[in-house]
């Protein structure tokens, strides 16, 4: 069920005229297809209930993207209804979930997840997971959408927060490491897609030496088809959705934002606009 990113992707939205410019990007040039008519504007919502939403906003405004992006700060359902895609920022997952429920956004976002791309960073990654370990007493509400189990504060308290370079081969300029900032970060402790779920693509892993010692002592899952420990996964995709346990919005590097728009958001727009024709 699990395959590494960069092989067998369905479509690319890079117009053929730009082939020369993009041919330096690994994994893309082999998948060129004639471009289909796509809307010029893409509306990306950022869930703005609590946390680092302004950082995502700044990053999207600065990012070099192939479409004009309109940013909507989502606090109510009418904001969400305008969006082609949604980013759930870092923050406190319990706080964001409560505010989403009080604002009547939980069910609308769950519906949104069925048809539109969503990217969760850190707390957003927890909310996108189907189940969570280390939830607050009495459990906590999740949005679901990605069939993994995630452990909150998997590395420990703030004194265990760290920065580490990441190798991400599907980003542009992939030979330049991406600077990962992990703050009370969650840890992916199990991949459990059902046969009907889209496959999970692993986008990036950290070096196993960075895992907390208490974590590495745990043996690998018996049924984990991946030869390596799921705990080293720090970025993954399933279907339309992207999940990162670290904070690209805290860097000055826009490559993950560009990746989300290019790989997750634009393909859904082209299929929508081309399917009636």
């Amino acid at each position: 069920m699990i395959r590494e990113e960069g092989r067998g992707q369905a479509t690319s939205l890079i117009p053929a005229s730009e082939a020369a410019r993009t041919s330096g990007y690994p994994g893309i040039e082999a998948k060129m297809q004639p471009s289909s008519p796509t809307p010029d504007i893409v509306t990306i919502g950022i869930l703005a209930l609590q946390g680092a939403f302004a950082e995502h906003q700044v990053m999207l405004q600065k990012a070099s993207l192939k479409r004009r992006v309109v940013i909507v700060l989502v606090r109510q359902q009418e904001d969400l209804d305008k969006c082609d895609a949604l980013i759930i920022p870092g923050g406190e997952s319990t706080t964001i979930a409560l505010l989403a429920r009080l604002a009547g956004l939980l069910e609308p976002i769950r519906e949104f997840l069925k048809t539109k791309p969503v990217w969760g960073t850190c707390a957003g990654a927890i909310l996108l997971s189907r189940s969570v370990e280390g939830a607050k007493k009495g459990g906590q509400e999740l949005l679901g959408g990605i069939s993994i189990t995630i452990e909150r504060n998997g590395f420990g308290s703030q004194v265990e927060s760290f920065e580490a370079p990441l190798e991400v081969e599907s980003l542009r300029e992939a030979n330049r490491p991406f600077h990962g900032i992990f703050i009370r970060a969650p840890v992916v402790i199990g991949l459990n897609p059902s046969p009907t779920d889209p496959p999970i693509q692993i986008i990036s892993r950290i070096s196993a030496s960075l895992l907390p010692t208490s974590q590495t002592a745990v043996p690998l899952d018996e049924d984990d088809t991946d030869p390596r420990d799921s705990r080293t996964i720090v970025a993954l995709r399933q279907g339309l959705h992207l999940l990162t346990t670290f904070h690209p919005e805290l860097t000055k590097d826009d490559r993950f934002h560009e990746y989300f728009v290019r790989e997750c958001v634009l393909p859904t727009l082209s299929s929508r606009s081309s399917s009636p024709a």
């Binding site: 703005a48 209930l49 609590q50 946390g51 680092a52 939403f53 302004a54 950082e55 906003q57 700044v58 405004q61 606090r75 870092g90 923050g91 406190e92 319990t94 706080t95 409560l98 505010l99 009080l102 604002a103 850190c122 707390a123 280390g134 939830a135 607050k136 007493k137 009495g138 909150r152 504060n153 420990g156 308290s157 703030q158 004194v159 265990e160 927060s161 760290f162 920065e163 580490a164 370079p165 600077h179 900032i181 992990f182 703050i183 009370r184 950290i206 070096s207 030496s209 960075l210 904070h247 805290l250 860097t251 000055k252």
Partner: protein
């Protein structure tokens, strides 16, 4: 002073591109000053992860709690973090005496009770209390004027710790002095335990007004202004360029109602601390939740009206004058 952490170096402030010029509609965010590292190893306790945690708390409410039960109420009400302390500021004011760091056992009980970050207070300048809190794995330390100062001249060298610090400030100079000592997070120094927001408003307005002034100054004027407000020049210059403090800035002191919290947000704060205002009120759980909502929807007056309904009695407020019981805490800090 001994350095409890190996391999820590003071963090310099590289040029920052975020928010420069602030075109309309662009939010201005405190930049992350992460340490770029080569090689495979990770790095713990960088200024990037310290200020980054504060960025994750933005738009949230940090609540004072004195035991695990209150901490659970705060978590259920949507607090983004809790501040563990033995007595809320209103009680410190009423009982007097020397206020110190809380019992580590009590703090650990609170850490075990909740999943959100736990902060705790140390006395100004008391770096051993800070070493103890770092050793028990606390998430953030407040070097706080609410406790009795342990040093009447020096603050803690906060660069020497892996755990991040928040400090209070009444004006821009004080804020930048704290940041230069390593604080990754700044808050106003409203009079704690009074339920009176006037001092927090004064501090926030002072900081914003000084930033606006600095933002139109020439470099020569900035040199003179740095001297005048006793701030390090490089931090003042960065602040002038960003048109905001270079770290996250919360309101603290005297916030008792959802309207108080929304007021501080509209004055430019990134979030709020609520001390005595919750557990000294008639219905703590309901008021706590209302304040959490008011910080998210601070610009939506219609929603604020709904949120503010039927919260029961707020904490009793105190007038801030020369007869204030417990004295003026904001004057502590140098």
């Amino acid at each position: 002073m001994t350095t409890p952490v190996q391999g820590q170096t003071p963090v310099s402030t590289p040029p920052v591109t975020h928010g420069v010029g602030n075109p309309a509609g662009t939010p201005v965010v405190a930049p992350t000053r992460s340490k770029t590292q080569d090689g495979a190893g990770g790095s713990l306790g960088t200024f990037g992860v310290k200020s980054g945690l504060a960025q994750m708390l933005k738009g949230g409410v940090i609540m004072d709690v004195v035991n695990a039960e209150q901490a659970r109420i705060a978590e259920e009400a949507g607090a983004c973090a809790v501040m563990a302390l033995e007595r809320v500021p209103a009680d410190i004011r009423a009982t007097g005496g020397v206020a110190r760091m809380s019992d580590p056992h009590m703090i650990k009980e609170i850490v075990d009770a909740v999943t959100i970050p736990v902060m705790a207070k140390v006395r100004i300048g008391h770096f051993v209390e800070a070493q103890i809190l770092q050793a028990i794995g606390i998430d953030y330390i407040d070097e706080s004027e609410v406790l009795t100062p342990a040093d009447d001249e020096h603050h803690i060298n906060k660069h020497a710790f892996k755990v991040p610090f928040v400090c209070g400030a009444r004006n821009l100079g004080e804020a930048l002095r704290r940041i230069s000592e390593g604080a990754a997070f700044i808050r106003t120094k409203g009079e704690a335990g009074t339920g009176n927001v006037v001092e927090a408003v004064r501090h926030q307005r002072a900081v914003m007004s000084e930033i606006r002034k600095a933002s139109v100054m020439s470099e020569e004027e900035l040199y003179a202004y740095a001297k005048d407000i006793q701030a390090p020049f490089h931090l003042l210059k960065e602040t002038a360029r960003l048109k905001r403090l270079p770290v996250v800035n919360f309101a603290a002191g005297g916030i008792a109602t959802p309207a108080d919290a929304a007021l501080m947000m509209q004055l430019g704060c990134d979030g709020v601390f609520v001390g005595s205002g919750i557990f000294k009120s008639g219905d703590p759980a309901k008021r706590a939740r209302a304040i959490v909502q008011s910080v998210t929807h601070y610009n939506n007056a219609k929603l604020l009206a709904e949120i503010s309904e039927d919260l029961g009695p707020a904490m009793v407020g105190l007038n801030i004058d020369k007869n204030l019981q417990g004295g003026h805490l904001a004057d502590r800090g140098w």
